[in-house]
Amino acid sequence: MKFSYYPGCTLKTKAKDLDAYMRASAEALGVELAELPEWQCCGAVYPMAKDEIATKLSAVRALMSARDLGTDLVTLCSACHNVIKQVNHDMKTDADIALRANNYIGAETPYMGETAVLHFLEVLRDRVGFDTLKAKVKNPLTGRKIGAYYGCLLLRPSKIMAMDDPENPTIIEDFIRAIGAEPVIYGMRNECCGGYVTLENKGEAERRSNIVLESAKAKGADTVVTACPLCLYNLKKNGGCDDVSVVYFTELLAEALGVK
């Protein structure tokens, strides 16, 4: 199993853990991830406007080089995944955007959305398989009660992300079961933590994060896992709920596989 891998800006700096734990786990699971040779920051937020082309280009370049390498493109950060997958969808379905983006880049073979974009969770579920993962777990996290925090970006818009049921998802819960812990289902797991306004409206970010963590705590979670550095920062820094720890799912994966 060989994939191209797009780490994104934050995974190279503040969220090195998220990245490192995944690489270690991937190796243990026999998943080969080759980092794209040259990648640029995706912009961290999908530009929704139809007439925004320049801001979509870095995603297109990444998609294009994965295509040229003949591999599927794996992402890990929820935000990168959202941006790249939505841009890919635009390139596939919006002829106007595709034309203009291709003109900008001036590639020999225009990119028309050929690359498949996978979140690392999807690699675990659909390529490795949670059963295989379960079999490879060395230190099952028995007794841990873990809440999945999907946030907004992993699942929505569901028609494009097409990862799971946007209102009642199961992918992270199934992951939690695979590593031997007990998933905790709580209502706010797919509601926004307010990460995007953390810079200028800290109060709102705090309120939203607290609502999420309180909801998880009320259902008895001791830990909340996320795939997004901004969510992690926000829930940790602004959430301020001492009873619930917030970690990347890859950290638990590495722990369970004994490669932490």
Partner: protein, 665 residues
């Protein structure tokens, strides 16, 4: 060559004012084959018809062209007149020189020219007309009703009362349908069971009605008046004739943990069961998915206790073949399961229920014996939030929901709210609505009563998120009139989910060759004027299978469908439209193109023997058209690549002749 007579009508001055009638007669009298041409004041009048009949007799006419008003107006009149004189009615053609000429053209010269051309086209067509005979087919005097809900029950009773036999095929062990599950009915608040069960008993006791319960339609063959239907009687492992419905087996059955579908899964039943006390037929059924005896061969308790020896573990599905003259689809509906709307918490919170589930929670015969207790902790809810339009009125692109208004939810929610406030005045009830739609007799008054007399809080807005925390449902909603976002701590949330046609309907429609819309509702023959008939002859529609309806509407439509069925069964023979497709077997190459496009399933293929060269016999697969089923649309004639298929009365040659006559330079 036909001997043709031409009759040009003045229609008073309607035609004569802008068409030079005499010139038309003069011009057409020189057309080939025309042996008689005249004009008259009013051709459709008694004396006009007499004029035509005399001319047919005197001039031995073999074809008639009437230049007059639209054939949609008087074609039948002139054809009948010709028939009285012994001329085949299909040898009469009309040239429409009123609606298409005199009424729309002001210039006499132009009008006259066009009238002549239209007359020529009609003459050219008549030359190629063939005498046609309308066939007849007998009518089997029995009706089939598919579905035993209130729609099917009402239709069956009405047909049976008129003296015809009726079979009801119901896939569940009992008739009664959704209405049997409902607690009270709007707008009068009668108890549903009190008004439904007497009708169920009437059905059971009616000598003309036969119920096939726990049965499904296997196949449908034939056509209007002559359907042959195979019915699968699923094995219920109980001999219906022996079982007395005493219920001892259901008491003794050790398998107690079967979810009770009649109570929407809120409680359990046994593996051998009678769905509810007033079930018809009152016969036990063994659920093969749960019966220990059927699964492992070890148990047999019910057989031991049954006093009449009705239990039969070896029973097999049986196929019964029956013949019918008419079939009524009454396949009903199901409420949409709102699992995809989990922002409203249905899949994850026990206390988020659908409206039909609430009916069971409020029903005296339900799991809580009529006391409203919420499912999670069996406590009495003090704050209840109703959400309207869940899954209804969605954009056509929205895969989760339905594009239509489900029609009944506004009223039943008002009913629920009112009943709760009446019985439990300490309960606060909120209803989130987009619009309150209450057209219907005494309906808006009913809804206003919920607001004004019972103090139900109606809020224009929607619920955006429901989260369960520590036993409380946190409801986040919009209040559009005050511009607020509301946060309500509720004990119970009720979703008024869209109605959707029963899943079995699609397969049944295919078997009946009855058409459906994109939502899987049966389409009617005409949206306004033939609302209870399917476009397929002999198939009728009753109840929600045709579109969302409440009980009063369903019952009216059920009776209307019955009236149509009675009208059909009252005939001994059916006259068929003679303008039907016909296949030339010598030309047919057996490709099946025609069969695929026929909307009525009128075309069948069979192997036939043909004489080949040198006294050999060839077997070829050729198409034949059942004239009783064919409606004469002509789709097959164009699909046919070999030119074997043609339409009587509108044949290729006839239409080409008209084209030539019009284009002749």
């Amino acid at each position: 060559m036909q001997r043709i007579g031409v009759f040009v009508c003045h229609c008073g001055t309607n035609i004569a004012a802008t068409v030079d009638v005499k010139a038309v007669v003069e011009a057409l009298s020189h057309e080939p084959g025309v042996v008689f041409a005249t004009d008259y004041q009013y051709m459709c009048s008694e004396s006009g018809q007499t004029l035509m009949r005399e001319a047919i007799r005197e001039h031995k006419l073999g074809g008639v062209v009437v230049c007059s008003c639209s054939p949609r107006m008087h074609e039948a009149t002139f054809r009948k007149a010709a028939a009285k004189e012994g001329l085949n009615p299909y040898m009469v053609e009309i040239a429409n020189i009123r609606e298409q000429v005199s009424w729309i053209h002001k210039d006499i010269k132009e009008g006259t020219e066009k009238a002549i051309i239209l007359g020529r086209a009609a003459i050219a067509k008549v030359h190629l007309n063939q005498p046609l005979q309308a066939g007849e087919s007998p009518v089997t005097k029995r009706a089939l009703v598919i579905g035993g809900g209130i729609a099917g029950i009402q239709t069956a009773l009405d047909i049976a009362e008129a003296g015809f036999e009726v079979d009801i095929v119901e896939k569940e062990p009992t008739i009664g349908g959704k209405m049997a599950q409902i607690d009270k009915t709007f707008p009068t608040l009668d108890c549903a069971a009190c008004i439904l069960t007497p009708k169920m008993v009437d059905v059971a006791q009616h000598e003309k009605i036969k119920i096939f319960s726990y049965s499904e339609i296997e196949s449908v063959k034939g056509f209007v008046g002559n359907f042959r239907v195979a019915i699968r009687r699923k094995a219920r492992y109980v001999d219906e004739d022996k079982c007395t419905g005493c219920g001892i087996c259901t008491e003794k059955c050790p398998q107690k943990k079967v979810p009770n579908e009649f109570n929407m899964g809120f409680d359990t039943r046994r593996a051998v069961y009678i769905p509810f006390a007033q079930a018809v037929p009152k016969v036990a059924t063994i659920d093969a998915n749960y019966c220990t005896m059927l699964k492992t061969g070890k148990c047999g308790v019910c057989a031991k206790f049954c006093g009449v020896g009705a239990i039969d573990y070896k029973q097999q599905d049986q196929i019964v073949e029956r013949e019918y003259g008419a079939i009524v689809a009454a396949t009903g509906f199901n409420p949409l399961k709102p699992t995809q709307y989990d922002e409203l918490g249905y899949a994850t919170c026990a206390d988020v229920v659908t409206s039909l589930e609430l009916e069971r929670l409020m029903n005296a015969a339900g799991p809580t014996a009529g006391t409203l207790l919420r499912p999670s902790d069996k406590k009495h809810p003090h704050t209840i939030v109703f959400v309207q339009c869940v899954g209804s009125r969605c954009d056509a692109e929205n895969e989760k929901g339905k594009p239509y208004c489900s029609k009944i939810c506004c009223m039943y929610t008002a009913k629920h709210a009112m009943l709760i406030r009446d019985k439990y005045p300490d309960t606060e009830v909120y209803v989130f609505y987009i619009d309150v739609r209450t057209p219907g007799k005494n309906f808006d008054e009913f809804y206003r009563r919920a607001v004004e007399q019972y103090g139900v809080h109606y809020i224009k807005g929607q619920v955006g998120k429901v989260v369960e925390e520590n036993g409380t449902l946190k409801v986040q909603a919009s209040d559009l009139l005050s511009g607020e976002q509301l946060h309500i701590d509720a004990d119970l949330v009720v979703l008024a989910t869209a109605v959707e046609p029963d899943k079995s309907a699609r397969g049944i429609a295919t078997m009946l060759t009855a058409s459906m819309d994109t939502n899987d509702f049966f389409t009617e023959a005409h949206a306004k004027l033939r609302p209870v008939e399917s476009p397929t002859a002999g198939i009728f529609l009753s109840g929600v299978c045709q579109g969302p309806k409440d009980i009063p509407e369903t019952v009216s439509q059920a009776s209307a469908a019955a009236a149509k069925v009675i009208g059909l069964l009252a005939k001994d023979k059916l006259t068929c439209n003679p303008c039907v497709a016909q296949s030339d077997e010598l030309l047919c190459n057996g490709c099946s193109s025609c069969e695929r496009v026929c909307p009525y399933g009128a075309i069948t293929y069979s192997d036939k023997e043909f004489r080949g060269p040198n006294r050999t016999t060839l077997i070829r697969r050729v198409a034949s058209v059942n004239p009783a089923v064919c409606q004469g649309c002509g789709a097959c004639t164009v699909a046919c690549p070999s030119g074997a298929m043609d339409l009587k009365g509108f044949s290729n040659r006839q239409i080409m002749a008209e084209v030539d006559a019009i284009c002749k330079m």
